[in-house]
């Protein structure tokens, strides 16, 4: 739908969704494209958005290690916010092969639905009125997953770190609050357990 607004045809939208599986990045690409920025500027804007995926990969290393290299490339491509949060709470199979099969199916399904949604969006935007603010679905999913992780881990320190870094990030750099928040939490996570080890 958004691609149409800046005058691209449906196959451009399809190609983008096939090869770039990243919601936020696509929005930014569109806005830079629309305002006529340069490719270098685009790259500089995109990298901070993608940085959180670096950390997703780091926390998922072990589970993805069992997949063959080529498949791992595809799976890494599909490791987006949604897939990551489902993986965190979904089943974890003891059998390595089964676990890889599960991750693969999850990735393929989410990517397929992404591409399909883009197709639908570029054709059906006049036919079906889409309720506004439905992106709140994602917010709700992230909240549910975060709650579930907290309930299983029962580490109260995590909440302290998360909200402290969040507040700090919003106070210090509101425009880059996601990036700042992630960096603060990383350093927070590193500092807190070490302190406890020293006193124990």
């Amino acid at each position: 739908m958004l691609f149409k607004e800046i005058g691209c045809s449906w196959y451009v939208a399809l190609l983008y969704n096939l090869f770039v599986f990243a919601g936020a990045m696509q929005f930014v690409t569109l806005s830079v494209l629309a305002s006529g920025g340069s490719a270098l500027m685009l790259a500089i804007t995109l990298i901070p958005i993608g940085i959180r995926n670096l950390f997703y990969g780091l926390t998922m290393l072990e589970r993805y290690q069992k997949a063959p290299t080529i498949l791992r490339g595809f799976l890494a491509f599909c490791l987006v916010d949604g897939v990551y949060s489902v993986l965190q709470i979904g089943p974890k199979f003891d059998d390595a092969k089964e676990d890889v099969r599960y991750i693969t199916w999850l990735s393929v399904l989410s990517h397929a639905s992404w591409v399909l949604a883009a197709l639908l969006g570029s054709f059906a935007d006049q036919l079906v009125p889409i309720p506004p603010k439905l992106e709140f679905t994602l917010t709700a999913l992230f909240t549910a997953v975060a709650t579930e992780m907290f309930l299983t881990q029962k580490q109260k320190r995590v909440l302290g770190i998360a909200f402290a870094s969040l507040a700090l990030a919003i106070l210090i750099m509101p425009s880059q609050m996601l990036l700042a928040g992630i960096l603060f939490s990383v350093s927070g996570c590193l500092m807190v357990p070490q302190k406890r080890e020293l006193t124990a």
Binding site: L58, T139, S185
Partner: protein
Amino acid sequence: MTWYTLLPLVAFISWGMRILPFAVGPYLKRFSFLNKLEAMLPCCLLIMITAYTIRDINFREAPFGLPEIVALTGVVLTQVWLRSSLVSMIVGVLIHQCLRVIFLTS
């Protein structure tokens, strides 16, 4: 600058940043601090992203972000109660949509 020159660039950046940790990860694994991160970071990241998705809310104007606050509280409570993320998610979206309509019409 057209779309077909940009497509490879954007694809490369998004994919590259996801593949990088898998490429360098095994070498990093020998540092023990990564294990600490693995235990605590995911939850922090999710809280950051939740906040990021609702960053545009204006708390100074009506409805003061109330639909989001109430809906997210609902999500947390449902999750504690039923432990099913799908149910919590649906509950959250329903509350959010209802409140939005109520505040828009009032």
